[in-house]
Amino acid sequence: MADEFALALRMLAFDRGRAQPLAARRRVAVRREAWVLCPLAMAGEETAVHAVACGPIAKREPLVYSVPDPRRRDELFGLFAWLGARLAPYAEASLRAGAYPQIWVPSRAAVALLDTLGEYLWHAPGPPELKALARLLVYATGRAPVAGQQALHAATEVLSQHYATGQQPGEDEHLGALLTWVDPPPGVPLDRALAAAEATPMGVRTDPSFDKRALEGPVARYNLGRKRGAPAEALSAIAAEIDGQLRGEVLRLYGATRRAVRLLCEGFPERLGCLPELETIEAEAYERFAEKGVAYARPGRADLPRQAAYEFVGRQLAQENYERALVHQDPLARLRAKCEGRVVEGVVREVREVGSGLSKRARFWVESEQRSLRVRRGAELHLMADPRLKVVVEDLHRSGPHTRLEALVVAGMRAAGPPAEGDRVELGPAPPVWYELTRGRVRLSHRIAQRPWTHDRARAPDPPPQAGDPPPNLLRALEALR
């Protein structure tokens, strides 16, 4: 069954009272210069950031900035300018060093908030630091959906890629609860520790009870004071009171995010082999964005058709490559792929050679005990132990408790050599090809040089023929179409 692996690990985590590793190697790079960014927005608002804590990941004490009422545009843009003045030098330094800026946020909700902020600030007039902040946010959130990206990490998402907890998947989005599963407090029953963690807000917007208890009064007094022309000292005192309330909230988010990164690095000291390639791709993407992408970026608006096609192909290739890299480089990811039937494990039977001379090939059966395989005739698989050996699946059928798969070697006959009778082999996807993206873009540029008929009414194909009498043998007619 497809997700038996995840189910088994969640069950183990529940039974043992501790999260279980889902990965054998760390899947993300943690840059020493990375920044942690924890925005906290006002409830009901999508761009009104009330307070923010940020700082280099190595720094325990963050920089904190808050505004008394972010619904006032001058105050809100003051906060953005402050944030831009801190983040822009980091982004510029990354570009100069041929690297990329990396930002860590507490949760996926924070990624969505930064995405909205990026779009909003991109179109808003403002000083250079505001524009720099908009560029950084648009870049980072634009990269966020790309598999294997290293620019913007949500702590909950990254931890969930590495650990299975004994709770519902949706509950993993609460960073406090997730950290409790990963690193339970000693001497406290887990259910009690979890209840306490869940009662502590970790969202990207202030909690309704906190708003009622701590913010509603001071914010109302502040606005009333401004309306009535209260002296600056009185307003500052109220602003300090609001800051005091918000500071604790953002400091907690900042501390939890840093703790997540620390636990990740401690729990997974060994890195995935492809991380250097992923970092190079990220640095190139950032350089491309800084040089050309800014002119083409259309945050908040639909992509142009050509741009959308490139983006779509780029994301698809990145996804395929990342998944292949995981299967080849992480034993637990490979085990999961086996459980899902994407990797075939079995014993080699009846190896025989076909052809002669340079065209000599080997054909063999693989007898697997896997109940369900996501492989079909014509699929190309690689030997996981030596991916130079490539086979094509020629036949596939169940035989008693086994699944038998006939494979014909189509590449690597001499370099890797066919497996021997009785060998236990694993066959899976091809290893990642990191420059496939460049080739894909070139191929795509040829394909979309002319507008396809789907987008051109004048060249629409003829309508399909009207249905006539059905063929006497429908099954045979369908087979004839293959």
């Binding site: 088994a8 969640r10 529940f14 969505a112 639909a302 086996k338």
Partner: protein, 365 residues
Amino acid sequence: MTPAEARARLRGGLRPRRGPGARGLEHMARNPSCERLQVLTASGVGPNMAANEILGERGLEGQSPFALVRGNSFERYVLSEGGARLLELYLRAGRREVAAGPFVDLREGLAPGLDRAEQARRRRDATLYLLAGAAERGRPSIVAHAVLGVEVAGASFDIEADYLVADGRGFYLPGEIKSYADKASKTDPADLRGACRQAAVAVVALRQAARRLGRGAFARAACDLVLRKAGTNWPTLRAMTLEGEVDSIERALAAAPRHLVAAAERAGGAGLADPKLLLSIPNYYVEECREFCALARHCKREALAAADPALLGDRAREQLAPVGSIVRMARYVRGDDAPSSDAERASASRLRRVVSAYRKALGRG
């Protein structure tokens, strides 16, 4: 026993301050397998009152005061100036028949000092009057703050539609005004789902009203959503179809009388004020419960006590259904206990294989 008698018996001395509203009814339809939620909603008690007053626990916090202010001010902004902004929105969307007006706000013209119930009654009557003559010439194309009655197990609960809009076929569709950010394809699906489901309750109410009025016109399963462009007060308009949402709400409402009567018969003479009776009504804890139900925390504790597979998610609940307990399955996998049926044996053997391969991959043998 009739549903009305069942409701009266279950309520006992409990006096709910208000009905479930569109939000409560759409929550009821989100988890149709939860009998506890169905009974609480159909009896008018509601999960929040049950958590606070019957179980003595902390219910849902409700909305933040800032979110309430934002939502109300946006609604006021859209409907202000005689609906000019809303009519302009329809004009820009190319729906000239709506933009031509007229616009009516049922809150305007109500005598000051009327209590809430009387205001609702007058607006409900006015809405029914307008629905009865919806096909006549000169009828308003937009009716703001309409009040409709939804019949649930023999009782009528009031719901308020932000506005009703002429559907061009002689009847009306509901319109929802929400201050959620409209980010085109990136709009939060949870926001859209919630707004659509609330509108679906209004569609059901419109259908019930049409039947009562003997009108041939039939409310379509569709609505208009007015959202907000992110970071601004500019309204945006999108037309939504609601077939699935309306069907699920109609199914939940159809099942409500059966749940209500069954619970009252089981209760004997007791009412919902007795926590034992409340907790004896079967629940169905799912992942979504945390989003909307005030009893979710309590139900989670019950699930924890039983090591219910639902704690691991909805798919785990299905996959571990033959065993029914996470702890029992873990014991089968460890070999501490032997499965007692073929279904248990099959599930346990599959998981045992995975766990053994996992231990091997981790180097733990």
